[in-house]
């Protein structure tokens, strides 16, 4: 299914990575594919009735089956659940406690908000605070911290639908919603997703940059080539299968941990692989899905670039130049190097670069630019000898990105039309703390990333300085905040057998 997808570019020799015949029917298609052949989509954020049990899921799947990782289909559907959703469905406490801590606590737990820089005082959160979350009750609240941790909308599940065109999407969505409504499931929020390829078949995010350039490439375990052979390890982007799929060997050399349930007649459809004796693996072939609604203010972005560019010396350094420095790539996605950008190969931006050899000091791609913070590759190595180690270390913090933009394209990027638009950031990882949270906290929004001081990601972070290394002397323009966190949560993306288990849950008694 990965073939032709936006994010998982096929290799000429072996095609895109995929799951073997044993696991492909079990995992959700979203794991292996961003459904790039289905450019229209929507995210339906659902609120379950109290003590819903699993019956609603069974009726939904009868109407709109969840897509397995088998191959291209005309429609795509994926579903994932928050901890409060699983609770409403009646998953027992022992099983809930076997999920990872970040998932159990939720994205809005007070200490986590601080770690993720989701604090209103930083100016990186939408006015009025995020609109949605799982609203996980805090068993141990901090009486000294007044930051609100609840949101107006409570989200229990996310249903992602993908189709080739708008009518097809509308039809499948209508059917799904009718079924959900019948089961008492409310639609808390609907986010229309789009790829909207440009003339050159490139997906661009709202600021205008080609997006989705770099993805980890899983190998090992059930990951195979199109011919069914073990998928070769990619030198720069290879990650063990367990980094994206629970129950398979991860970067720490053990099966990625996930939720387990008692081995009884109700869990007969689940396998026991990597589960302790007496249990079955509810997480096997599933993953965690991180979802963040990031609102983008396009006019404010370009206004900020215009303003900051004026403060820079030299007359060639316009807003577009500065914006590309902020991102670290040109608008077309080519990574900046000293003196210019890497030329594309076969029309595709190159992704086989490292920083140490070509751009140690960030004279092309600034040390604190968005892509260098998102994946520093070997760029944090103190010397050449440490390069391979640092590259390997950085690989332990990768995740499969499955985000799409939402909202209409802006007609004039320098004129605010008042429309809401942005990115529904979605990523798949098995260790939320070591993968998503690490990248967010230790790289993206770290005020002391590399040797920088008092600045964060110029694209996503709060307003502040942005260092552009230049020979002989750096410049340090001020950039504003133009991306705001509007809602988000950690979801469990179950395998299809796990969905079978969940949908058989009886409604809990009061």
């Amino acid at each position: 299914m990965g073939d032709g997808s936006m994010t998982d570019a096929p290799r000429p020799d072996v095609g895109a990575w995929r799951l073997d015949a044993e696991h492909a029917p079990l995992a959700q298609g979203l794991v292996v594919s961003a459904f790039a052949h289905l450019p229209e989509g929507c995210a339906l954020l659902l609120t379950l009735p109290e003590r819903s049990g699993g019956a609603w899921l069974a009726s939904l799947r009868a109407v709109r089956p969840i897509t397995p990782a088998l191959g291209k289909a005309d429609l795509g559907a994926a579903i994932a659940f928050t901890v409060s959703g699983l609770q409403a469905m009646g998953l027992d406490d022992a099983a809930l406690r076997s999920f990872s801590t970040p998932f159990q606590e939720g994205m809005h737990q007070i200490d986590r908000k601080r770690r993720l820089s989701d604090l209103p005082k930083l100016g990186t959160v939408v006015d009025g605070g995020p609109a949605w979350s799982a609203n996980v009750p805090d068993a141990n609240p901090d009486p000294t911290d007044p930051t609100p941790t609840t949101t107006p909308a409570t989200v229990h599940a996310i249903l992602l639908l993908y189709a080739a065109d708008s009518p097809a999407l509308a039809a499948t969505e209508k059917a799904a919603l009718a079924c959900l409504e019948g089961a008492g499931v409310r639609l808390a929020r609907r986010i229309e997703l789009s790829l909207r390829f440009d003339g050159e078949n490139r997906a661009r995010e709202h600021f205008g940059f080609a997006d989705g350039m770099s993805q980890p490439v899983p190998f090992g375990g059930p990951i195979v080539t199109r011919d069914g052979a073990p998928f070769p390890e990619d030198k720069l982007h290879g990650v063990p299968a367990g980094e994206v799929l629970i129950g398979h060997v991860n970067a720490h050399g053990e099966p990625a941990q996930g939720p387990i349930v008692l081995a009884d007649e109700r869990s007969a459809m689940l396998r026991a692989d990597a589960a302790p004796e007496g249990f079955r693996n509810l997480g096997l072939d599933g993953s965690y899905l991180v979802v963040r609604e990031l609102r983008q203010d396009v006019a404010s972005f370009w206004a900020s670039m215009d303003r900051a560019a004026e403060t820079l010396s030299g007359n060639h350094q316009g807003a577009e130049w500065l914006a590309s420095k902020v991102v670290g790539r040109t608008l077309d996605g080519d990574v900046l190097v000293p003196g210019g950008a890497l030329s594309p190969v076969d029309g595709q931006p190159r992704n086989d670069f490292t920083f140490l050899a070509t751009d140690r000091h960030g004279l092309g791609c600034p040390l604190g630019s968005h892509i260098r913070r998102a994946n520093p590759r070997d760029g944090l190595a103190p010397n050449d000898a440490a390069g391979p180690d640092l590259l390997a270390a950085a690989q332990n913090h990768r995740m499969l990105r499955r985000g799409r933009k939402y909202g209409p394209a802006i007609a004039d990027p320098r004129h605010d039309d008042g429309a809401e638009r942005g990115l529904l950031f979605m990523c798949i990882n098995t260790d939320i703390a070591r993968q998503f949270e690490f990248v967010q906290q230790t790289w993206m929004l770290n005020t002391s990333f590399a040797t920088l001081l008092d600045e964060t990601d110029p694209l996503m972070g709060p307003a502040g300085r942005f260092t552009i290394p230049t020979d002989p002397l750096r410049s340090r323009p001020s950039v504003a905040t133009f991306i705001h966190f509007a809602g988000g949560e950690y979801f469990f993306l179950p395998s299809l057998p796990a969905l079978d288990y969940l949908q058989a849950l009886p409604a809990p008694s009061s």
């Binding site: 200490d111 050399g253 000091h361 180690d389």
Partner: protein, 453 residues
Amino acid sequence: MQSIRSVILELQPESVAQVRVRITALEQQQKELETAYSALASALPLLHFMSITVFPDAQYDPVLVIEANFDGAPGPFWQQFERAFGEELRAVLRCGKAPRDGRAALFQAVTRAGSRAPMAQLLEALSVAPIVGHQGNRGLDRARIVADGAAFTAVQAILDRGDVPPGTAPADLHRLLRAQLQAEFGLDRQAPPRIPPAESLADYARLAIFVLLLVVVALLPGTLLGMALLPHRGFGLHLLIGVGVMAALLAGLLAWVRTLEQGDPAQDAPPRDEAALRAMARREDRITQNHMGSIVHIKPGVLRAMLLPVALTVLSLYLRVSARDGYLSSMRTIHFAHWALVSNRSRLMFFSNFDGSWESYLDDFIEKAHTGLTLAWTSGIGFPPTRYLVQDGASQGRKFKAWARHSMAESLFWYSGYKGYTVNQIERQARVADGLRAASLDPGKAAAWAMDL
């Protein structure tokens, strides 16, 4: 020269709650000052990092630990410490159990009702030195770190004002900045060497002597045996026998270690105390630096008892010569860290003041420096299985993190003398300030120097 010391005091179990309240109140007082911690910053000018922790334990009564990382010798520091905390410190000390050894009289004198006896001597007597210590910014005293930081900030302010014409050559830039800042930052005074030659020599000498001693001790049995059995043959042959026996002994020792390791139980899933975990989480990630305090029990047995101090001493001496620029392998995020043997060598204590989140710190170890860490903690009860003392262990990321977190206690009081700076940043600031102290820089040096601005 910086010192690392930790005051260790067993507490009267009934008084633990009171100690916690008193220490939390002390921290609160400092936090609520107009400039938080300013009173402590001026009262303890030698102090880099300090923490006060109460470690609960299933087998022992709780123990209070005051960890201090400071400039110079312990004597003057503990005197300043006493003045800074005054009678509140005495009230805390009174909650301790009186030592039953030679320190009993001193403890009694300090803690009896109405006592005004000085406390510094007792603090020093109660304190332990680390068996392994590490300073990221070796040889930089606090005053210099703070002053270099101020000079760096002043440079940034000048550059950000746009006062420097574009295209200024680095050497000219250096001249210009130096002229502007010379008087304010006393740039004519050269900074002393970070590691004086004598100290440097001593580092190498200590390592060499220790290794030599180990070799001699290992050679001795075989050589003596050779001399006894073949008294008329040359010393060369005796030495050869010594080498042979040493090799056999080493092989035997390794086999013994491996046998122990294969039988060592591990604790994959230590019990989780949610309230304690939350109390720690609440304190973490407030600033760019974080703190970790841990105590673990040491595995029993004569081999462990012999091996652990030797292994830690080798690690310590090796770090003194190999990690002078702050890098442990390729990670440089530790300001001050140390291991110390406590409780009659039955427990191993670890403290670290580091940059970034706890998760990222542990990931750094797991990914980049797990060998040394495994060597140091392989004797800890419950530590993930190791092979030959240095393999596996900490590289089993999830288990290691769970084990390490379980060994920690909430840092009730934590102070950093320069909380905005990472180790990397301090080095960068030192390079910039060192450059400014130079009367002039040649074009090559100036260009490299300007890259740090």
